[in-house]
């Protein structure tokens, strides 16, 4: 084999689908058919997974800590809601994309504020933007419906063919397909030269610029893309629940999202997906123990995760799957969160 073809094949091999990944998606597909009575909660998980995937793009791949990612979720949610309510765009798929684009524009505009400064300034600016939007939505309650939210949203059938049903079946498959397509796109992005440059930036921005990477431009680009993803997640929320209220912008939503991603691990795309499942299950368990005060346990989980250490926790969590893989496939683990790669 010549050096060039070896270089090429080695580089491509990094982006190849691994057995564990295929198994993951088969498992997801199985769940879709195995639990027909749980479409609503599963739709919830899928939406959250997409939202977490969006945060992973900026946190896991570019190292931007955001306390206000709900801003884009909220903009997407209200865009989709208003379009459906006023009959501007009734076809859900087109409305979904448009809502994502609206969030994307906001992401692009605010990215210039976010890429400036240190972590703390970023925290403040992202938090500030989300609070600002919440205040705006409250101020213009004649448009947004204020704290009651948008009332009486009716969704047209998807592509004019599939009507939303009361069991949430259509909504679930619709959300799942959207998640899968956007996941494929994200996977494509992180394995491209662009994605590689993001990893370099997160690990050491100064070094990246010394290799010739235009750091600011890349951060603006990925922040904009992440805003698109979050906007789509928000729009899915409105379309599948026919609701949009002020709490789409809330701080708790942004904070929960961080927890989701932290549970699943950052920087390998599946973290948000796995985290969403675990988070929703935890939420279910906690709310059966103490219906009103499940937030206490969520907080406790956050504190424990940080004190134990995120790396260590993921090693523990992956111990069993890795053991199985070693036994079955007789090789080193494929599911692993790179240790020092995590921010």
């Amino acid at each position: 084999m010549t050096a060039v073809s070896e270089v090429s094949s080695r580089a491509i091999a990094r982006a190849r689908w691994r057995p564990a990944e295929i198994a993951f998606w088969i498992l997801v597909a199985c769940c879709a058919f195995l639990f027909p009575s749980r479409y609503l909660i599963m739709t919830d998980i899928v939406r959250l997974a997409l939202f977490a995937l969006s945060l992973d793009l900026i946190l896991g791949y570019a190292g931007i800590v955001s306390l206000g990612h709900a801003a884009f979720f909220g903009v997407g949610a209200y865009s989709a809601g208003l379009m459906a309510l006023h009959g501007i765009i009734t076809e859900p798929v087109i409305a979904l994309v448009v809502a994502g684009l609206v969030a994307m524009v906001l992401g692009f505009l605010t990215s210039f504020l976010v890429i400036r400064g240190v972590d703390l300034t970023r925290l403040m600016v992202t938090l500030g933007i989300a609070l600002l939007l919440e205040a705006l939505a409250e101020r213009f309650s004649n448009i947004t419906g204020g704290s009651d939210g948008l009332q009486g949203i009716e969704m047209a059938p998807i592509l004019g063919l599939f009507a939303f049903d009361m069991y949430g079946k259509t909504g679930f498959f619709y959300s799942l397909i959207v998640l899968f397509l956007l996941f494929l796109l994200a996977r494509r992005i992180v394995h491209s030269p662009f994605g590689l440059s993001l990893r370099a930036i997160r690990n050491n921005p100064l070094r990246a610029s010394a290799i010739g990477v235009p750091v600011d431009r890349r951060l603006i680009a990925v922040y904009t893309v992440a805003a698109f993803y979050a906007g789509i997640a928000g729009a899915l929320f409105t379309q599948t629940t026919a609701l949009a209220s002020l709490d789409v912008f809330s701080f708790e939503r942004s904070a929960d999202l961080m927890l989701v991603l932290v549970i699943g691990g950052t920087g390998y795309l599946y973290g948000g997906l796995i985290g969403a499942v675990v988070f929703k299950m935890l939420q279910e368990v906690f709310s059966t123990i103490t219906p009103q005060y499940w937030q206490f346990w969520i907080g406790l989980v956050l504190v424990v995760i940080v004190l134990v250490g995120r790396d260590r926790m993921h090693r523990w969590a992956l111990w069993l799957p890795n053991l199985v893989i070693r036994q079955v496939a007789g090789r080193k683990a494929v599911v692993a969160v790179p240790k020092s790669d995590a921010p």
Partner: protein, 250 residues
């Protein structure tokens, strides 16, 4: 002779501390130029000014006649001014293949490509293979950089800089900390750098400087003290005084 890199009257101060004073430096095309100086002379400041990490308070920097004083770091790299790092600043979790591939794809303007996968771009592959081969890194290209022997890491450092196809290369103490056994590889790699690449070597190790350089500038307290061919600089009483003084202090 044409001038590859030139600075005129560079000034930099932090608060009241002047770390670069009226710094003027001319590096000729294709030269093997060394910048030496005792500890604290301001060598690191000079590198940071040249590469754009720091902005000078006054003065200009010209790369092949073009003013690059106001360009950001990455734009200078794309114009042909690259550097290596002294302490290990390589990406521990990337492989040599990825590190070099990143530099090559940025140089070829493919860094913003978000659709095609790494490894599917023919021009990037070709150059990456070329660079890896010429620094004898092909056999370790798929290993995490952190696990490579230190000597290989230093080679990768130079390889990454070369992958950006520099017209002028700043080598910041390329052999620092390399064990004696692996030192030869580094020196050979430095000696084998293409002749059309102008090299500015920032170095502490006098043996390396005198073996390598055809011209030497001596920096003291942020200002240029002497500049000339090695033999001349070695004889200069002021240089002797600076280095003897340092030796006496140490």
């Amino acid at each position: 002779m044409t001038i590859a890199l030139e600075t005129t009257g560079l000034e930099k101060s932090f608060g009241g501390l002047r770390v670069a004073r009226a710094l003027s430096l001319r590096v000729e095309q294709g030269a093997r130029h060394a910048l030496i100086g005792p500890n604290g002379a301001g060598k690191t400041t000079v590198i940071n000014l040249l590469t754009g990490v720091l902005k000078p308070n006054a003065g200009r920097i010209l790369l092949e006649g073009h003013d690059i004083t106001d360009l950001p770091v990455h734009a200078r790299v794309l114009r042909g001014l690259s550097r290596t790092f002294q302490i290990n600043q390589l990406y521990a979790d990337l492989t040599p293949l990825e590190t070099v591939g990143l530099a090559v794809s940025e140089r070829l303007g493919r860094g913003g490509d978000w659709w095609r996968r790494m490894g599917t771009l023919d021009d990037v592959n070709r150059e990456t293979a070329e660079v890896l081969a010429s620094f004898r890194l092909l056999e370790v290209m798929n290993e995490r950089t952190a696990t490579l022997p230190y000597g290989k890491q230093r080679l990768l450092e130079i390889a990454v800089a070369i992958a950006t196809r520099p017209r002028v290369l700043l080598l910041d103490e390329p052999a620092a900390g390399v064990p004696a056994g692996e030192r030869h590889d580094i020196l050979a790699a430095v000696a084998a750098l293409p002749r059309d690449v102008t090299v500015l070597l920032i170095e502490h190790d006098m043996d390396l400087v005198f073996a390598f350089a055809d011209r030497i500038s001596v920096l003291v307290n942020g200002a240029m003290l002497v500049e000339g061919p090695p033999a001349e600089v070695a004889r200069d009483p002021r240089v002797k005084a600076v280095y003897l003084g340092e030796a006496a202090d140490a």
